[in-house]
Symmetry: C2
Subunit: 370 residues, 2 copies
């Protein structure tokens, strides 16, 4: 049984290919009764238009592309991308657009792939992730006039439409939580410095903390658990160790938690731990880790809608991603030294959410006493 073509449907219906095309695409040019007859025959034969023929005729590939240049071994531990993909798929499958997903060795290979895809007309546009400070990809995409949308920050997108992640809001949520608990000296193990979101979070972390009257420090890493553990050890052995550490991904948070435990540092009494991006990892360990959760599936879907619009020549209006939510678990709490220090605390209230913080403190003290 061969797969039917539009010609089969046409001859079966006693009309020409054009009439069938009109009928199937809702164009005027056929009467309602003929349209119904053609539709019925098409359904009966199981006819679906050939994607290649359609692509050739209308000049659209009917596909978008996503390339990630991270090593598969690292990627495996990152639920982020699978969820992003799921969101894109869900949106794109509604109009039979498919998604080409590939991993590249490095940015040069990624760029080469864009060139190939575009020249071969395999995709109508691409999604960009992991925006970097001086990103080679953006200039290439511009010169190719290849539709693209980025996930990240408008500041790093070089004019490309963006589904933008509000890193400042994320930092504010986390810092506010820690401030509420009474932390005075906090640290952050950031990601790879050449990524824009790392830079933005580092800046936001410094500013938001200062505004809250909290001492803050950021260090860099490469997202691996080794770095997470090393950085944690360094921070905890310092003369004035922080009472809380924020990690830029879940893997490092888990590794940091282990490292702290091995040094005999109790979590959360001596150290609070927060992860950026929630995942099953955060729930698996003891204590489970407080994490900033983003609706990644929704983000993927937004990106897909945006790229569809851009590829159709429509407007490339930047979209904010949904606000992140802090899932508070057992790895964060009132720091032991803050409890001790409560008595000799200066009388003048701090300006940042001091009421809430005081309330939490009070509740905590009640809890110990009771």
């Amino acid at each position: 049984m061969k797969r039917p073509t539009i010609a089969d449907v046409a001859s079966r219906a006693g009309v020409t290919k054009a009439a069938v095309s009109f009928a199937l695409n809702g164009q005027p040019g056929v009467s309602e009764s003929t349209r119904q007859r053609i539709l019925a025959i098409a359904a009966e034969l199981g006819f679906q238009p050939s994607s290649a023929a359609r692509a050739l005729a209308d000049g659209k590939a009917g596909a978008f592309g996503l390339v990630i240049d991270r090593p598969p071994r690292t990627l495996g531990g990152e639920p982020f991308f699978i969820q992003l993909l799921a969101g894109m798929q869900a949106e794109l499958s509604r109009d039979h657009v498919s998604l080409l997903f590939t991993m590249a060795e490095d940015q040069a290979a990624e760029i080469e792939l864009y060139r190939t895809w575009w020249a071969q007309r395999r995709v109508d546009g691409v999604f960009l992730v992991d925006l970097q400070l001086r990103d080679q990809r953006i200039a290439v995409l511009h010169s190719l006039r290849m539709p693209a949308v980025a996930f990240g920050s408008p500041r790093g997108s070089g004019g490309l439409p963006v589904v933008w992640q509000d890193d400042v809001a994320g930092v504010e949520t986390i810092v506010a939580h820690l401030a509420d608990l009474g932390h005075q000296r906090i640290a952050r193990v950031g990601g790879i410095p050449r990524y824009w979101h790392t830079r933005l979070r580092t800046d936001a972390f410094a500013q938001v903390s200062e505004a809250a009257g909290i001492e803050a420090i950021s260090v860099e890493s490469d997202y691996t658990r080794e770095h997470g553990a090393d950085a944690t050890r360094d921070l905890l052995r310092a003369a004035a160790p922080p009472t809380a550490i924020v990690y830029d991904n879940d893997l490092m948070a888990v590794a940091g938690l282990s490292a702290a435990k091995q040094l005999g540092v109790d979590v959360p009494a001596d150290l609070s731990v927060v992860a950026w991006d929630d995942s099953v990892l955060c729930e698996l360990v003891h204590p489970p880790i407080t994490a900033l959760r983003r609706d990644i599936v929704a983000i993927g879907a937004e990106g897909a809608r945006l790229l569809r619009s851009v590829a159709a020549g429509g407007p490339g209006q930047d979209l904010p991603e949904p606000a992140p939510e802090l899932v508070v678990r057992e790895s964060t709490g009132v720091p032991r030294q803050a409890v001790r220090a409560l008595s000799d605390r200066p009388a003048s209230p701090r300006r940042y959410r001091i009421e809430t913080r005081a309330l939490h403190m009070w509740l905590y003290l009640m809890a110990i006493k009771g």
Copy 2:
């Protein structure tokens, strides 16, 4: 700057489209000098043949498909699929074949997707994962005459070519390791019973253990950490608890480890833990978990080669996947009760690898004394 077509190359070279086509595809019909000239012009213009036009002309889509019907949330924690994808990509990109990767809600949706892909000529074949006991997909693929290769067991593939996972070898490796250490009563938390590999592992586990003179029990699960933890608690609270538990995935192994610790069971002194499929998870926890590692990237590449052959009408020779390797970490050891029981052990040697086991035992005893 528009993307050049074969006609642009042809006119620039002063020949016809056909000559260009011959030159680019290494066909006879042009002289060597003309071929070089055409190649140079094509390179200069950055010409690449349109995938749609080529697909239309030669009837090949130039793409394969992979559908997974697991919820994205679960998938995120499974490094398996990303690595499988990476292996496929690496192989397929060599001849410019691309990969369509999608997640489906359930098997019905997956099947519907195959129908659509095939009718629209979007793919030349598909990869099948998670073979089930009575798998609806196989009959559909057969009736569509759609090329496909499966990952799993030839027994469950319904005649489809398979890259087959040697579950028996895996079980043997694990059981031998535990037997060497002196375990006499072991358990396994298996996967979802409707999957073929679960069934095969369960059978193999029973048989291999019996051959080794070891008492063994398998229980079922749904791969979630909740099941992993619950099953562990049940097993450890039994009248005669096992001294080792094997888990069908890494997630459950980690959850089981936590559950054991919470019950005050020491790993590895009171309980050895082994995970099927290695990942970063196994290295993150304390103690790090002994795991069966498979070269998943290589498996993906083998599958891609096989599907390419099958889709070209070639032979569908089943391929064994590379033998799995047991990565021994700190979660497995000589069981405390085996050490105690050493003195009143019967004199007659067990037939299964008794020499090795005795050697390990001896080394262990030396270690405690020294």
